[in-house]
Amino acid sequence: MHEWALAEAVIKTASQIAEKEGLDNVSEVNIRLGELQQVDIEIFKFALSQLKAPKLEKAQFNIRRDEAKLRCRVCSYEWTFSSVELDEEAREAVHFVPEIAHAFMKCPQCGSPDFEVVSGRGVWIESVKGVKRHG
């Protein structure tokens, strides 16, 4: 996913969670980031720092990377995304739409494109921590 769009999504969602949980000041946002998203963490962090919303000014963004693992539905072979050599075009495409991996990759053992992403897909906000509002 595009870094700036992702940062926007995270800020917006973290603000909503803070609102719902009655947090005035958010100190920490814990994010799990799937490797398949092919996000450039430096750009993502920079985008987060530029987009900070009122309640998130002092927030620290902790990003945990989730390794992308794939499993063939036909022969059950498992492999990691990082073990596959993809050209620039494919990487770029997977970055924008991770499911496109199905157009560019095949099971290294049996050649099937029918594989599942066991881990390393998507972006999740695991928790938002901060100081509760008084009263």
């Binding site: 700036w4 992702l6 999504a9 917006k12 495409a93 496109i100 157009a103 999740w124």
Partner: protein, 244 residues
């Protein structure tokens, strides 16, 4: 755990006045052609129009529009390029002409991803070319695009309508606005589809005859708008559609 892409979607669609999903339930009835020509006709009338091909496993609207060698721009997301006056978004920018075999959950993820990153800006209409079927794409559009209205395409065949009928019933049951039904590739005088549609309390938009000039017009937008197919659809749009 929260998926931050979902809240972003409503933000991305905020400045769009109407979303029309051209759908059917049934395959091969002319959804992509109707969606493309609908979008082109609205743009020609001066509306701001976006066009989104959600048939990720077998996109075809780029062939109808004669699109090649274009890419979206990156600007706080993905800005779709303008093609024949339409802001046009398709998976082909990423998959090229490769097959992308996707299962249901994977289709959903790709749809969420594209809805979350695409920056449409202000639009009068967003036209969606839907894949066939009553399952994933329909349910996802219902879940993710709350303001979607459905324009249903069928052929005159009772076999096609058998599926289309179920599709319409599902939409009605869910209280989703059904704009109308278009009977495409009409070759006889039967009023079976019109009657069935009106019995359900849905607007019958009209008929598009089987047009033998259609095939050779694919990829040529000006021709598409000027053959019988385009003219028939233009008349319906003139009568049935405005911004309200």
């Amino acid at each position: 755990m929260v998926d931050p892409r979902i809240p972003l979607i409503s933000e991305r669609l905020r400045e769009i006045r109407r979303v029309i999903a051209v759908s059917s339930g049934k395959g091969g009835v002319g959804k992509s052609l109707v969606a493309s020509v609908l979008a082109l006709t609205l743009a020609k009338k001066g509306y701001k129009v976006g066009f989104f091909d959600t048939d990720f496993t077998s996109p075809s609207s780029h062939i109808i529009l004669g699109v090649s060698n274009i890419q979206p721009e990156e600007m706080n997301g993905i800005v779709p390029p303008t093609v024949h006056g339409l802001k046009y978004m398709s998976i082909i920018y990423y998959a090229g002409d490769r097959a992308s075999p996707l299962r249901g959950a994977e289709f959903s993820n790709a749809l969420i991803e594209l809805l979350a990153v695409t920056v449409w800006g202000e639009l009068d209409f967003l036209i969606i070319d839907m894949p066939p079927g009553i399952s994933d794409a329909t349910l996802d559009v219902l879940r993710l695009i709350k303001k979607a209205e459905f324009l249903v395409v069928t052929t005159s065949s009772r076999l096609a309508f058998e599926t289309v009928r179920k599709f319409i019933d599902l939409l009605l049951e869910l209280n989703v606005p059904v704009l109308g039904v278009i009977e495409n590739m009409k070759m006889t005088n039967s009023d079976f589809i019109r009657k069935e549609t009106e019995e359900k309390g849905i607007k019958f938009w009209g008929e598009i005859p089987f047009d033998k000039n259609l095939e050779e017009s694919i990829g040529d937008v000006e021709r598409l708008l000027n053959i019988e197919f385009g003219k028939a659809l233009e008349r319906m749009i003139g009568e049935k559609i405005d911004l309200n």
